[in-house]
Symmetry: C2
Subunit: 404 residues, 2 copies
């Protein structure tokens, strides 16, 4: 399924980044499972990470490295098929050895190699498979679309489709490009960042600039999606700016850059949701007239997590009573008799009570790949958009397979 809006469109490659991928044999399938990005000298960086208290070794090491280098990253090394999480000291040692070896091959200090992992938790990372693969990975890097596509495939796990988005804009004499790639289709309920997302830009920007821009953008995009309500231990969004375009972030271009970043992140967020495990229907949830944005988000999350709502959506069932019950159980002190609910363009619940509507039309709307549900609280002026999905028997099948 693809969302009609913000589909990836043309992909532009920013200057200053090369990509590579290899099969290290971490995935039993023999697919690509190791990816590398090399960034030009003086590349600046900012990142946001999972809020889960259980964090994988690469998240801790990446966070510490960013602090130590004051926002400098020259390479990104990612493996899929193993989260490198919850295996004690082994996880840290593995991650450090991989960063060290990658750095050595590229002539970089270990702290400038940013690590990520995604896959099963609690299984030791097979370092002995990864280390011998690094030389090939480094030697085969390149700057073409083909190299990029291989990298994106190397970070996929249960994803059915690669996820890319880019925006290019002119700022004075320079052309600045923002490119984003992402993986993620289960454990999608980011609390700050989401899954693995890498954002590459060729603007000139300080790490502090990048950090501020990234936080604001994540809040509006990756923090407003949910597939299954589970927050991963490895969520990472990394933004790199190579400076190779020569375009600086200034009063004129900062807004353009923020918009470009927002558009790329929103597209990736939508691609992640529509490729969610077992997803048949994407729901664009809009919670309106809340007292605060936090309140609107709380209501949106309660609805997006209700199994009864999500299973009703799987059946394209315009069962607004379940939505209303989920709003009531959200913990927000709503007054039921001020709640209005729309499915598509139709009002289906007026002031907390049933009202006449064309059920077949509402059913047909929910049967579409993407549909709209609006919840109006009549409590204030805060709104939020939230992207979520139905819950299908396929989701259960994908996740109930006895895997360990």
């Amino acid at each position: 399924m693809t969302l009609p809006r913000r589909s990836p469109g043309k992909i532009y490659l920013p200057q200053g980044f090369s990509f590579s991928a290899a099969c290290a044999g971490i995935k039993a399938s023999g697919r690509l499972d190791l990816g590398l990005v090399e960034a030009a000298p003086r590349t600046t960086a900012a990142a946001v990470f999972t809020k889960n208290r259980v964090v994988a070794a690469p998240v801790e090491i990446g966070r510490a490295a960013l602090a130590a280098t004051k926002g400098r990253v020259r390479a990104v090394i990612v493996n899929s098929g193993n989260a490198n999480c919850a295996t004690g000291n082994h996880a840290y040692r593995s991650c450090q050895r991989i960063c060290g070896a990658t750095g050595q091959l590229l002539g970089l200090p270990s702290e400038e190699v940013f690590p990520s992992s995604t896959g099963i938790i609690g299984v030791p990372l097979p370092t002995e498979k990864i280390l011998p693969t690094l030389a090939t990975l480094v030697s085969e890097r390149g700057t073409t679309r083909k190299h990029l596509d291989q990298f994106v495939r190397a970070i996929m796990t249960t994803d059915k489709r690669p996820k890319l988005a880019s925006v290019r804009f002119r700022s004075g004499k320079e052309t600045i490009t923002v490119l984003g790639v992402a993986k993620g289709s289960g454990m999608i309920h980011p609390q700050l960042a989401t899954m693995l997302v890498y954002l590459f830009a060729d603007a000139v920007a300080t790490p502090a600039d990048l950090k501020r821009l990234l936080r604001g953008t994540c809040e509006q995009t990756f923090n407003c999606i949910s597939v299954d309500g589970d927050t991963s231990t490895n969520d990472t969004v990394l933004l790199l700016a190579s400076g190779q375009s020569g375009g600086r972030l200034n009063d004129g271009s900062r807004k353009q850059f923020a918009d470009a970043l927002g558009e790329v992140c929103q597209s990736l967020a939508e691609q992640i949701v529509s490729d969610g495990e077992g997803v048949q229907h994407v729901i664009r949830l809009s919670v309106e007239q809340a007292s605060s944005r936090e309140e609107a988000l709380r209501v949106a999350r309660a609805v997006a997590h209700s199994l009864l709502v999500k299973t009703a959506w799987a059946g394209a069932d315009p069962n607004w009573g379940r939505i209303l019950a989920a709003v009531g159980a959200s913990g927000v002190a709503i007054k039921p008799d001020t709640v209005n609910i729309f499915i598509g363009s139709q009002l289906v619940c007026r002031n907390g009570a049933s009202c006449p509507f064309a059920e077949r039309k509402a059913h047909r709307h929910l049967a579409k790949p993407v549909s709209d549900v609006r919840i109006i609280l009549q409590r204030g002026h805060a709104n939020t958009k939230f992207l979520t999905t139905d819950l299908t028997a396929d989701y259960v099948r994908i996740n109930a397979d006895y895997s360990t």
Copy 2:
């Protein structure tokens, strides 16, 4: 599936209650959908209700009636197949007319008739089908086991099995009986009460006594179960004491009564969970060494609501990494390296990291109808037990059927 412990066993009927059931035609299936209990004069009552902000008309009317009568109830009228919720004034008028008509037939004021409804939200209650059925309902009431069984069937919706439990004990010269009946198999995530539960005792007790006992018992039983994390708009637990045994609650018998009530409620809670929609595996979750009971409950609920944990359980997959990730996302400030996890008798995660264990044995344990998962936080001295279930493709099928 039945839980090995606390299976219903012999059912004792307390003195002072008669039961009745009828088909009013609310359920399309033509099954029993209207139930009545008549209680002896001077019966005392206490109730706890859903914490959902959206509450059904019978919950509001029942709560107000209990306040007006200061804890006196002489009859209970329940329909299944329709929640009588979110249909505006119609819901209140319907409920009042039904209580009024039932009272008239029994020679009671309307406020002494306690109403409940369970079923679909947002569809007007077909009062015109219920009112003409009341005369038969009243005339056919009786005190036998058969009358009781019919009543229990009349309150069922998607339940596969009726749920009953009772305990009888001697207090001085008197024999006191506590009987409980319940319905509920979806929308099971009580926040104070759960679903419809009626508890009948023939002790002599004040409403204040009953209220205190009921609150404490619910906190330990119905508030420690979850099937799907959805909180109903109609949850009600009603406790009635007819006084007909002559046994008074005094220093000696109060503890016995509390224990009997606790045992009946625990059995009903376990019956509700094991009859949960699509449930194949019941998990007895134990969260230990938390800083407080609230913290233990928060961790238990986070694990019990994680779709990835629940689907792993459906596959009897000893994937403790998903459990650890859910603990980390619970919002409790746990330290991952103090978390131990047991599946059955085996330690599968020691200090937040993998440790050697017999995977097949853990798989076999989780493949049993009822299994044990222990999470030890090493933060303090508070513990909680929590009963939950797997999430199967059958749950999705049951709830994705296009129903409205």
